[in-house]
């Protein structure tokens, strides 16, 4: 059970360091989801920036016409700040607070140190058939995947998909729609169906015209927060949340010690540890991949040391 906010934060609040830091962390979790809310230093110190961010949140998310700049433990502002966090996720946030007190905080470790100490240097995460401009998975995310490789006793992973622009998404949907439109209607949700209907209604037009119409439909949907595919995001959004697939067959073809179950189990452990935001195990589906979403630099990589960030390899379960 999360403890939540213990005392008021903001204008005329008690502003205990722990509580201010908690509010700063929750405010930062909304950064980028509605502009312009800049990232705050999570230092536990109340100041004009934090109060301005509270007011911004109250005005634009809570819907307060006259924001008071104060977050109360049982108030609507705190309820809305934590709305997208399950109890487990709130506990995880509060654990970070405990771990981050000066006496408990570990020294930051560079990627180079993590690599050297853990022997990650010999592990390779490469791209499959992906255009160079779409090879933008953050080095942090690559390190996280290397941890899963290390833990599962594998040496290589191949990224087979990153993000798609609306134009690329439209071309893929047109190409596949021409092969089997009904299968595409089954594969996509309501948003994808709207785009497929554009194709269905305009079959007499040229491919370029259809792609343009489908692309426009994808862009319009995106403007109202409706995503056609989990891979169809803008580059700026992508930098905040890396979304990519690791292909089973591409990885199997180049990897020593390939083991689907162990690798899946290690990825799941990295989800539990908070390094991976979302893992969708699609190894049993036709696209045969691990769909992974990672927020770059969300949680510092700790020194791998003698044992393991997760578990010693011999104890890695095969699920």
């Amino acid at each position: 059970m999360p403890k939540g906010l213990l005392r008021p934060v903001g204008v005329s609040g008690t502003n205990d360091v722990r509580d201010v830091r908690l509010v700063q962390m929750y405010l930062n979790s909304f950064a980028g989801s509605f502009a312009p809310l800049a990232l705050l230093d999570e230092d536990g110190l109340i100041g004009t920036k934090t109060i301005a961010a509270i007011k911004h949140f109250q005005r634009n998310a809570v819907g307060m016409r006259y924001p008071d700049g104060r977050v109360d433990p049982e108030g609507k502002t705190f309820r809305y700040l934590t709305m997208y966090f399950s109890e487990v996720e709130q506990n995880a946030v509060e654990q970070v607070l405990v771990g981050a007190s000066p006496k408990n905080q570990p020294e930051p470790v560079s990627n180079e140190t993590v690599n050297a100490k853990a022997g990650l240097n010999n592990l390779i995460v490469s791209y499959g058939d992906i255009a160079s401009e779409r090879r933008i998975v953050d080095p942090y995310s690559i390190e996280v995947i290397k941890l899963a490789l290390k833990e599962s006793g594998m040496n290589r992973a191949v990224i087979t998909s990153t993000f798609r622009t609306p134009d690329q998404q439209a071309r893929i949907m047109l190409k596949n729609g021409k092969k089997d439109l009904k299968a595409q209607f089954r594969l996509y949700g309501a948003n994808g169906d709207k785009v497929l209907r554009v194709y269905a209604d305009n079959k007499s037009k040229s491919d370029d015209e259809i792609v343009e119409l489908m692309k426009n439909a994808i862009v319009r949907l995106g403007q109202s927060g409706q995503r056609v595919s989990k891979h169809c995001v803008g580059t700026e959004e992508y930098k905040k949340l890396n979304i990519f697939d690791i292909g089973v067959n591409s990885t199997r073809a180049v990897c020593k010690g390939f083991n689907i179950k162990k690798f899946t189990s290690c990825l799941n452990d990295l989800v539990s540890e908070g390094y991976i935001e979302k893992l969708i195990d699609e190894t049993g589906k036709s696209n045969s991949c691990w769909h992974i979403e990672i927020k770059p630099n969300k949680k510092p990589l700790q020194e791998y040391a003698k044992g393991s960030i997760l578990k010693p390899i011999k104890y890695v379960s095969e699920g």
Partner: protein, 184 residues
């Protein structure tokens, strides 16, 4: 909540649906609850089974009437994905009725027992989304809900729509909710 289980009443299985499930090798077939539980103040007035002409997916459609004369149409469509669409027609429109309608919709979504759990009341999630996008009940909208608003081990797509019905004599407004899991 009182659950009205309709299994005894609705034993007629549409053979076309069953055949389609087999022909398409639909992975969601065994995971769909055919007879969803109806909220206490609602009454099921119709259930239909059909096939989506665009995709050949089986579709279960339920029409529910509420004591306050609101009506709800729930559609479960499934094969490679599970899709639930709800169309809720409100007799009277004000903020309280709007929130109550969203709560009824959430009950239906919860009763579907899929790998999809909203982390907060739907009315609160919709309220925050409306605030962030500057929307009001004065005009129609159709917007995606944030992916982080739901827990699931699968790919999730969800959205809410609203439109006033000024020319309708029966209803003041229509509210739509959709969630889909799996798929692309």
């Amino acid at each position: 909540m009182h659950k009205l289980v309709l299994a005894a009443l609705l034993v007629v299985v549409n053979s076309a649906c069953a055949q389609n499930n087999e022909a398409l090798d639909c992975k969601y077939t065994d995971r769909v609850i055919e007879d969803i539980a109806i909220p206490l103040d609602g009454k099921l007035v119709e259930k239909r089974e059909s096939v989506d002409p665009n995709s050949d997916e089986p579709v279960y459609t339920y029409t529910i009437l509420f004591q306050n004369q609101d009506s709800m149409k729930v559609e479960q469509k499934f094969c490679d994905m599970y899709n639930m669409s709800v169309t809720y027609r409100m007799k009277h429109l004000d903020r309280k009725e709007f929130d109550a309608s969203l709560n009824r919709i959430k009950q239906i979504a919860d009763n579907a027992k899929q790998d999809y759990q909203l982390k907060a009341p739907l009315s609160a999630i919709v309220d925050m989304t409306m605030n962030q996008r500057g929307l009001s009940l004065g005009a129609a909208f159709d917007v995606g809900l944030p992916s982080q608003a739901a827990s699931s081990n699968e790919n999730v797509e969800h959205s809410v729509s609203f439109k006033p019905l000024p020319t309708s004599e029966a209803y003041a407004a229509e509210l739509g909710f959709y969630f889909g899991i799996g798929g692309e």
